[in-house]
């Protein structure tokens, strides 16, 4: 049951094949079993069981709220959840319990979803590995998959299998690990520079970043106000569309949400007429650091579209090489501003120094933030100094416009959707990853994903195939602003063509009552 799609489970719940409480308990027990992945910071067991009880009542009365009723989900720990600790994986907010729910969390709860817990991340969502939070790094479930382990036995004679575990990517690594290990059906992440799509690619999931302005940011602890969006991680595109349908829409509490009538329920047509599509391949994304496997998959994907009659064009995004620099400046500058609210006075950590306000603030912030966060605050403040403001911050804003225009021009040349890699390579071992510092890694890993945030466009990472080492590789589709439905439709078609394999985690699942691929369910009727 845990390996099914959202729609299938929802149908099973409606037909009484399983109850929300049973489903909840299965997920909770799996969360306990997979604790070593460190995907969850807080497991909200009581809350989830209570929600499951209420959901069960609704199903009994035939009054289910929709496709998400009774479905276990997880939420990244930088979304505010009322009554549940929200830490952003930082000492600054350890023990902080928000008095309100983020709008997206509230929307999920209103649809009856069961909140399993808050997932781990890089501290304040700064990073591309989910390795820099105070609760420790997140381990990629694929490190323990049969597919990876078998390949490793062929290549290495090392018996010490656990020391070489792989990163999940970041910063929504906990959410990705949670979904990938079947502990929930969907998870919320946040995407500022690729933080949803990067771990999705490394964990073999669908990682969707909506258009900026489509989904409310109220309650998402902000990193970069002009680029953040809540992201969705699921195991298939249909599931992502269902979740998006629940979350999208204007919010009076977030003035950056758009009030145009784009909130139709997101039912994806099951067949796209591929021959009418025009796919763009940005040539500047073919960088030397790109691994040959990813490059070959990218090329095969383009060929696939072409063979089905679509037009596949090379396009140019000339300012691509500057986009990571521009992102770096804008991101650190906005971070410097957003992190200023953490002073220990109204919430969060507070140090013991009482000498003066300034001294208290300084010590609180030193104790509360790790090096990565402090480094970005300082860099940001540097770029915002009077003597640097024009040359760095304003300059970066101008370059941002050039980058956004690049995309507009590409789409205006008739392209519907752009196809690019998501990451440079498959997931790397943790020991390898930490050889470089956070800033360097982010600059390397965000290269294909951050330009999209600067332009505010929707994008999705789809898992395509396994590498020679048995690890997932994903490709990214980028759509026009507010054409999320079209983007997902294309992604869904593509997903069906590539048939990405299910992760085989039998060793973990052995005494779990549901065995994944071999389970024969009584036929579940799915009414479309």
């Amino acid at each position: 049951m845990l390996g099914r799609t959202l729609r299938e489970v929802s149908a099973a719940l409606k037909q009484g094949q399983i109850t929300p409480t049973e489903l909840c308990q299965k997920c909770l027990s799996l969360i306990k079993k997979t604790k070593f992945l460190n995907a969850y910071i807080t497991v909200s067991e009581e809350v989830a069981l209570k929600q499951a009880e209420e959901s069960e009542k609704r199903y009994k009365n035939g009054q289910s709220l929709g496709d998400l009723d009774g479905i276990p989900v997880a939420v990244k720990d930088n979304f505010s959840t009322s009554g549940i600790e929200t830490t952003c994986a930082s000492n600054m907010l350890k023990g902080y319990i928000p008095p309100y729910n983020a709008t997206v969390v509230q929307k999920l709860l209103d649809q009856g979803a069961l909140l399993m817990g808050k997932t781990n991340l890089d501290e304040f969502a700064m990073g591309s590995g989910s390795t820099d939070g105070v609760f420790g790094p997140v381990k990629n479930p694929w490190s323990y998959s049969k597919q990876y382990r078998e390949k490793r036995k062929q290549n290495l004679h090392s018996k010490n299998e656990d020391s070489d575990w792989l990163i999940t990517g970041g910063s929504s690594g906990g959410s990705a690990a949670a979904v990938s290990a079947f502990t929930c059906y969907a998870a919320l992440g946040s995407d500022t520079g690729g933080s949803t799509r990067n771990p999705a690619a490394h964990c073999g999931l669908v990682g969707f970043k909506p258009s900026y302005g489509l989904v409310s940011r109220h309650g998402l602890i902000p990193l970069v106000n002009s680029m953040d969006v809540p992201g969705i991680l699921t195991r298939c595109v249909d599931d992502a569309a269902i979740v998006l349908g629940a979350l999208a829409g204007p919010d009076p509490k977030d003035s950056t949400t758009v009030h145009d009538p784009i909130n139709k329920p997101f039912m994806l047509p099951s067949l796209a007429d591929v021959s009418k599509l025009c796919i763009g391949i940005p040539k500047e994304y073919l960088v030397p650091e790109l691994s040959s496997e990813v490059r070959s998959l990218w090329s095969k994907a383009a060929d696939l579209f072409e063979s089905e009659g679509a037009k596949v064009l090379e396009v140019s995004l000339p300012h691509t090489s500057y986009s990571i620099v521009c992102y770096h400046v804008l991101c650190t500058s906005e971070v410097a501003s957003n992190m200023a609210r953490f002073d220990g006075l109204q919430y969060g950590h507070r140090c013991d120094i009482d000498v003066s306000t300034e001294a208290m603030y300084a010590a609180t912030r030193r104790e509360g933030f790790n090096d990565v966060v402090r480094g970005r605050i300082l860099s940001g403040n540097f770029f915002l100094l009077k003597e640097n403001y024009e040359n760095y911050f304003v300059k970066a804003q101008k370059v941002r416009r050039l980058i956004a225009n690049d995309f507009v021009n590409a789409f205006n040349s008739g392209v519907d959707v752009l196809l690019t890699p998501t990451t440079l390579s498959e997931a790397v071992p943790y020991l390898e990853f930490i050889k470089e510092d956070n800033r360097t890694r982010s600059a390397q890993d965000d290269i294909f994903t951050q330009a999209v945030n600067m332009a505010g466009l929707p994008a999705v990472s789809i898992p395509v195939a396994l590498s020679n080492q048995g690890l997932p590789i994903g490709l990214q589709f980028i759509g026009r602003a507010f054409c999320d439905q079209q983007l997902l439709t294309v992604a869904k078609w593509f997903e069906k063509q590539v048939q990405f394999p299910v992760i085989q985690l039998q060793e973990l699942m052995d005494d779990c009552s549901a065995v994944l691929e071999n389970e024969k369910l009584a036929s579940v009727s799915l009414k479309q």
Partner: protein, 136 residues
């Protein structure tokens, strides 16, 4: 104004950083001088803590310098991708609030309905780059 700053908190024993700034090589990258470091620490209310941190800032700045190569003549800065749209304004009616108790619960030091701060005798107005703390 800066002379007042210099006599403040930075030289006060705020954790083990005494004498750090004097060890910094003033040549450095040319731009991250001891003066800049002090200034940044004062603005950000966050300290560098180590030479590695200063080196990281230097690298970050060198990285950002690559932007100079881009020709941005006549280009307007972009603040938001939604710049072409009108901001939605809701009607000016009070719809929620009166949650003082809930908000006070999250603070470590509270007296009646006040958040308690240490003495503000170093009561400078907030500098440009720091925003007043927003109410949630």
């Amino acid at each position: 104004m800066w002379s007042r700053l210099v006599s403040l908190g930075l030289r006060a024993p705020v954790g083990g950083r005494q004498g750090f700034t004097s060890k910094v090589d003033p040549q450095g990258s040319g731009r991250i001088t001891a003066q800049v470091i002090e200034h940044l620490e004062r603005l950000a209310l966050v300290d560098f803590g180590s030479r590695e941190a200063v080196a990281r800032l230097e690298k970050a700045v060198a990285f950002a310098d690559r932007l100079r190569a881009v020709d941005t003549d006549g280009v307007e800065p972009m603040e938001s991708v939604l710049e072409d749209r009108c901001l939605y304004l809701r009607s000016d009616n009070v719809v929620e609030g009166n949650c003082a108790d809930e908000l006070l619960q999250n603070s470590h030091r509270v007296v009646e309905e006040y958040f308690v701060a240490p003495p503000g005798n170093i009561s400078l107005p907030k500098l440009d780059e720091q925003e007043p703390f927003p109410h949630s």
